[in-house]
């Protein structure tokens, strides 16, 4: 695991640990956190069920006007919607979209942040100054509106949504990496490496990036949670993937009228609960990871 390297450079080997790698200690700490384990379990369950959707559920887009707006039954576990489509199938297939966009955005965001943040922190000077101003510029804009703007302008597909999210979320991970790089650059082991003749790129790859992996994993989970929420808002407002593709937000969008709200709870409560529980689980896992990867913070918060 990469976490091995992440711990050593920071000089966190204070506690005696005979015959234990840092990653196995991190895992032991993580396992003690009940909320994090619960979150991980729920997340795995939702992910596996979404992946297996074609084998578990019916066709999510099959219109059947003879069974419109039916309550849950053995035939349709979560009932049917206005077009007679199976809500359970739409929720599972919707999970594929929401989770894919969430995690793909988080990974792209972290990657862009890693590249920009390392360069800014390592090179310093003008690079750093421009980087920090750019971060401020991007973070001042209302992200949701800009994401909607680009998605409606350049196409309502997964790739556009993921790229646009990364384009407006990277400052969060970028600033984190930049601050870490600045802090680590001054540490003795990096200076020693330089004194031995290590060149810029080598020092960066060998020392700075591994040290940033731990905090970045944590930031990545929070960004994934954020991305799932943004995507759901996007789809809820009707600007997500083009219909009939389901995502959790778009199922709720179709349920936006008082009659449905009052008499057909199966149409709006399950997707709403799933978004909430998924985001909550990701945040629990993130918190657990933070405490497990960095023993210093477990005391702080």
């Amino acid at each position: 695991m990469v976490t091995d390297v992440a711990m050593e450079p920071l000089g966190l080997e204070a506690e005696p640990s005979v015959g234990q790698s840092p990653s196995s200690r991190a895992w032991r700490r993580f396992r003690r956190n009940k909320l994090a384990i619960g979150g991980l379990f729920f997340l795995t369950l939702v992910t596996v069920m979404s992946i297996l959707a074609p084998w578990i559920a019916q066709d999510p887009n099959a219109v059947d006007l003879s069974v419109v707006l039916q309550p849950p039954s053995t035939e349709h576990w979560l009932g049917t919607d206005q077009a007679g489509r199976d809500v359970f199938a739409r929720v599972l297939y919707g999970g594929r979209v929401s989770l894919l966009i969430g995690f793909a955005s988080a990974i792209s965001t972290v990657f862009i942040g890693l590249v920009f943040g390392t360069i800014a922190g390592y090179r310093g000077g003008v690079f750093d100054w421009i980087f920090m101003r750019l971060v401020e510029v991007v973070l001042s804009f209302p992200t949701l509106v800009l994401i909607i703007f680009f998605v409606t302008r350049f196409g309502r597909n997964v790739t556009t949504i993921v790229l646009v999210m990364a384009l407006f979320q990277w400052p969060i991970s970028g600033r984190l990496v930049r601050n870490m790089t600045v802090a680590i650059k001054e540490q003795e082991f990096v200076q020693a490496a330089r004194a031995f003749g290590a060149r810029g790129l080598h020092t960066t790859v060998r020392h700075l990036i591994p040290a940033a992996i731990g905090p970045l994993t944590v930031a990545g989970t929070l960004l994934a949670a954020q991305a799932i929420l943004i995507e759901s808002a996007l789809s809820f407002l009707g600007f997500g993937l083009s219909p009939p593709t389901a995502s959790w937000g778009s199922i709720l969008n179709e349920a936006q009228n008082l009659t449905i709200l009052e008499t057909m709870p199966w149409l709006w409560i399950p997707p709403g609960l799933l978004i909430t529980l998924t985001v909550l689980s990701i945040n629990f896992v993130g918190d657990g990871l933070r405490d497990a990867l960095d023993p210093r913070t477990s005391e702080m918060s």
């Binding site: 101003r133 973070l139 808002a233 709720l252 909430t276 985001v279």
Partner: protein, 318 residues
């Protein structure tokens, strides 16, 4: 103070320039003739329209290099011209300005409600760290962060609007203050629920950091009462990061306001922007994002200057 002010302005001015540049790039990326959004649409009617357009193209310098065009655009901006709506036939400034009131009420109201709840709870959680109260507060904070505000809104409409019939499910009351208040409860309640989470967690964290400071220990050692330590020292010093986070959260809050205004038919700028998106009225969307970004940067600047004025340490180190 003068030196700090100069230094702070030296970082704020490039950010404002960057915001304008990014917005200008958005304008450039728009489909269609950029001139059509700068000119009142009634002047473009009829056969003279084309000749007029050509004359204007020369006048607005649209045959100039892009960089010159940028400065022209900024010049227009400083005169309050954000361009014209594609569909509403009115200046963007007017469209947004007319509807700013309800949005400011919604956002301001939610911030006030969220702060009055979140600050005491966060402070209490920090003081009784690892107590049952602390864990409950954290759990509530994490949950409200995870619930999408449109789901809270749907649930609120279902419970209070449909089942109990206590509150109207939408609109902004026009029949006096009482009617207005009844219509405002749900939108403001839902939006402040979304803000409660981040505000509370941030208050708790800032208070914890302050409580670790030597001057708190010193105050306690001198025999200062708990009330004095909390009320005077902790709250005062934690107030600065809390104020900062309320500003940092504005772009997110704006996103929430759009969702809430659409759901409750609250007639503010959020609803205008939502309609602009559905009709692909790009000048309105770009104008709106530009105004929000400028508000965020300028309020951040004023807050920082205010903090520096209060706290000499910031002036010297920051």
């Amino acid at each position: 103070m003068g030196r700090y002010m100069t230094r702070r302005l030296m970082t704020a001015i490039p950010v404002v320039a960057g915001i304008m540049l990014l917005s200008f790039l958005l304008v450039q990326s728009m489909p269609g003739d950029p001139l059509r959004m700068l000119v009142p649409p009634d002047l473009l009617q009829g056969p003279e329209g084309e000749a007029f357009l050509e004359a204007q193209r020369e006048r607005f310098g649209l045959n100039d290099p892009v960089i010159i065009q940028f400065f022209h655009w900024v010049g227009e901006l400083f005169q309050g011209n954000l361009g014209f709506s594609f569909h509403l036939g009115a200046p963007v400034t007017e469209i947004l300005g007319d509807r700013a009131g309800p949005t400011l009420i919604l956002m301001g109201g939610s911030m006030i409600v969220a702060l009055t709840l979140a600050v005491p709870v966060g402070l209490m959680a920090a003081l009784r760290r690892n107590s049952a109260f602390d864990y409950t507060a954290s759990a509530v904070g994490m949950s409200v962060i995870a619930i999408p505000s449109f789901f809270t809104a749907l649930a609120a409409i279902y419970i209070f609007g449909v089942k109990l019939r206590w509150l109207p499910p939408g609109g902004m009351g026009q029949d006096g203050f009482g009617d207005f208040l009844i219509h405002a409860i749900m939108p403001i309640g839902v939006l402040s629920a979304a803000l409660f989470g981040p505000y509370m967690r941030y208050t708790r964290q800032s208070a914890l950091e302050v409580l670790n400071e030597p001057y708190i220990t010193a105050a306690r050692a001198r025999g200062a009462s708990r009330r004095l330590v909390v009320g005077k020292h902790t709250l005062k010093n934690a107030a600065i990061p809390i104020a900062t986070v309320t500003i940092v959260q504005i772009p997110l809050l704006v996103g929430g306001a759009i969702v809430i205004e659409t759901m409750f038919s609250w007639p503010g700028t959020g609803l205008v922007v939502f309609n602009a998106i559905t009709t692909r009225d790009f000048p309105v969307i770009i104008g709106f994002t530009l105004v929000v970004a400028l508000i965020v940067v300028v309020s951040q600047l004023f807050l920082d200057l205010f903090i520096a004025w209060l706290d000499p340490r910031v002036r010297i180190e920051g």
